[in-house]
Subunit: 196 residues, 2 copies
Amino acid sequence: MSDTHALDTLVQSLRRLPGVGVRSAQRMAFHLLQHDREGAQVLARSLQEAVAQVRHCARCYTFTESEICATCSDPQRDASKLCVVETPADQAALERTGAFKGRYFVLMGKLSPLDGIGPRDIGVHKLIERATDGLVQEVILATNFTAEGEATAHVIAQALKARGLTVTRLARGVPAGSELEYVDLGTIAHALVDRR
Amino acid sequence: MSDTHALDTLVQSLRRLPGVGVRSAQRMAFHLLQHDREGAQVLARSLQEAVAQVRHCARCYTFTESEICATCSDPQRDASKLCVVETPADQAALERTGAFKGRYFVLMGKLSPLDGIGPRDIGVHKLIERATDGLVQEVILATNFTAEGEATAHVIAQALKARGLTVTRLARGVPAGSELEYVDLGTIAHALVDRR
């Protein structure tokens, strides 16, 4: 289809979305052009708006449209507890539980030495600055329970403990509602070690 | 996250893409804002460009940036054969085979009575007009082999045969490279009936 340059470009651009291969990108482009041109225009405007408006909170680096995000500016939140997460999505998941009333620090992802992503790239130096503000007493590490997330937690714990802070980690264990028979061995082993 | 209106709007807009639920939309939005703001802007521009540039060929209704698409304007293509497909994506799949040298007619989807999509909505009247131009001798139905695609083929075949045109259908049968043991019974039954 040599006379569909704009369509080919759109397919290429859609492939920049995570999890979208060439087939999905084609299906999306065809769908928008055939059935939802208004949706395409709405999406274009939302993308431009979000890029223009959304920035990182100056204190916790989550997404916000203000200088300081709503959570950081909320005087009701406990300033002595700081929860460290990998992404704003993880922060949103924790917020949905309603179980945490402290503040957050959002890393720029996780350590990944093989991809050349070190502590500085994910903002560990900013976290240290933030955690040593004199108000924070406990830092709760809520990075993911993957190899990279665990490594990230380990590196941060070392750095913060050296500065005299209390560092805790989310409990590992059997997920709520699950039957032991179907839980993987590593999880059961951890739940045994961390029994209370 | 009350101060992230632009982010929430972006997530909603991404959900208009086919196959994208709320989780994927969030992941896409976070990814673009955190790691690929340039990609977000490129995508916004491509969407606007495509909506502005891409239209339907006046003869076959496929996507094109010209009045008449490249396939319809190509004098080398056999004007006596017209292949009917459901979507530009299906046309692209047929073109990739290199096995068809005639022309195309792209329907606006498939019949779906339950969704209120009748023959006129998918452009059957335009197809009849196109197929009775005096040059077309054979119409090859290449709608999908789904319930809706078969129904669409049936309705079109009736209408075109009534106007004295030769109407054929893509052969049903065992896919190339497959072992009979793993082919579904309906396919084998059809391959038996259509044996040659």
